[in-house]
């Protein structure tokens, strides 16, 4: 039999590690939504003194790539300090899984974002308050590094799909170097909006396809 995933992905998909919920979690986050196709919740327990992740669990409503990534990142993060756990990115997760098909990397990114958000949630609860800075082009570019170009499995900043970002009175205009009838046009647009719109001072995101 042949499968579109590596042996390691299949192993984690079949028997995912660290599945479940921590009722009295020190930090938790849910990334994605049923609308975007994948959703993942991550829960962490952190040792106050050592700042090490004592326990970590995840739940996934998603495809094999999402489930397997949830399983591997919880394995990787367990026992690590939160500073070390922050360094786990999707590339490391993907390597640990023996690679993922390019079209599936965005599902892995979502799971990794879940881990980072759970850590941020822990820090916020600990009173490490992050101040509300006005959104800049740099902040948006940073967020867009989490939107994948499914054709190649790299983010849309690195693959140069973003031609212009402009912020004006809470309105963000983004020019995307794709034709409007591109295979992934609707999907990429949706993901950009999901990443940028939650920024506290952003009211509207407008995406223009400029390669028609």
């Amino acid at each position: 039999m042949k499968f579109p995933y590596s042996e390691k992905v299949l192993k984690h998909f079949r028997n995912p590690h660290n599945v479940g919920k921590i009722e009295d979690a020190d930090g938790k986050a849910t990334e994605g939504s049923p609308a975007c196709g994948d959703m993942v919740s991550v829960y962490i327990k952190v040792d106050d003194k050592t700042k090490k992740i004592k326990d970590i669990k995840f739940e996934s409503y998603g495809c094999a790539s999402n489930i397997a990534t949830g399983s591997i990142i919880t394995d990787l993060a367990k026992g690590k300090t939160i500073e070390d756990a922050k360094k786990i990115d999707w590339k490391r997760a993907s390597n640990a899984l023996g690679g993922l098909p390019p079209i599936k990397t965005h599902c892995a990114v979502l799971a990794v974002d879940g881990l980072h958000e759970a850590i941020r949630n822990y820090e916020e609860r600990q009173g490490i308050v992050r101040e509300k800075k006005p959104t800049t082009v740099e902040i948006i570019r940073k967020r867009l590094k989490h939107v994948m170009n499914p054709l190649v499995g790299l983010d849309i900043i690195r693959t140069n799909l973003i031609k212009k970002i402009n912020i004006e009175n809470g309105k963000v205009n983004i020019d995307l170097d794709l034709p409007s009838n591109h295979q992934f046009a609707a999907n990429i647009k949706e993901e950009i909006i999901e990443k940028v719109e939650p920024l506290w001072d952003v009211e509207k995101v407008d995406i223009k396809f400029i390669n028609n």
Binding site: M1, F3, P34, G37, D38, Y61, C63
Partner: protein, 395 residues
Amino acid sequence: MDNKTIYLDNSSSTRLDEKVLEAMKPYFFDVYAVATSEFGYSLGIEAREALDKARKDISSSLVAHNEEFIFTSGSTESSNIAIKGVAMALRDKKGKHIITSKIEDFPVLYCVKSLENQGYNVTYLNVDKDGFVDLDKLKDSITEKTILVSIQHANQEIGTIQDIKAIGEICKEKEVIFHTDATHTFTRLPLDVSKIPVDLITVSSHTIHGPRGVGGLYVRNETPITKWMDGGFQEFNLRAGIENIPGAVGFSRAVSLVTPEENEYLKSMRDHLIERILNEIPETTLNGHRNNRIPQNANITFHLVEGESITLHLDMRGFAVSTGSACFSRSLEASHVILGIGGDHERAHGSVRFSFSRFNTKEDVDSVVDVVKDVVLELRRISPLKEMNKKEKSK
């Protein structure tokens, strides 16, 4: 694919029937001439006769005249020839308005979208919760500029059968050309063009155990249609290109092998699966109408879980099915059909299509239901949606 796989994705493609292959063989090895060489040598005459006979057999199954049926490379090409051909023929004479439904299969949908980009106006009719087009809405949408209505005979994903007789009558009364995509109904449901006023019908061989890469288009006499696949004068000068004679022969043999008893058999497997799943697995929804659906199709949403995970688990246990989940599609978009019948993304992502063929058995149905039950329970155990759902319900 190994022999152990139980293939339940027969709306995507079917296993070739050995009898079809037997019928095709001589046209690869013995009678391999082109039909247009009939005035050159006798092999050409034999080729021409085989093509004519295949055409006659298929057109008579539609109660059509011989010259009203052309062979193509499949449904996609048939719908392209029909829709773009009519659009070209009538844009200067009548207008540029086309009507279709929101849940058509991709060939029709992307044909009209491409025409839209070229300046045509397209009305995409909504469908109701079962997938039916509202006939009054259709009537109201037709204007004097309307050149074509393209509405499928039955849906590729949810199997809902449209009332194409009523649609055809509306079109006939308003003098609008009517095209229907019958890829998933041809030979499965009665389709008689002497009784149903339809001008163009897309059909395909790959859904009925015939060869892939062969399809056909019924074109009622006097339908205005412009040829755009240029080249030779084959297929009554509507579709240029060397005729695929083994394919045509295989297609006609495949048509001859479908019987009413077989369709009843498919229906019994369909009903057995639907009843068992709806009764035995909680939080499931049947997509499409319970009875007014094609015999080979069942489509069910397993709530709180994602379809690609279901299909992969089933694959690892030896079953092939398909899903309307975004993760499964090449565009990463959720099924436009499930969204079209008013479903939300969650319903689309958790939808699984089971489609049957003559090579499936009732035991296959029982075993897939047993495994699906396991898989869905396991995936629900790890799904964060189960909690959210409980909260929703307690509200």
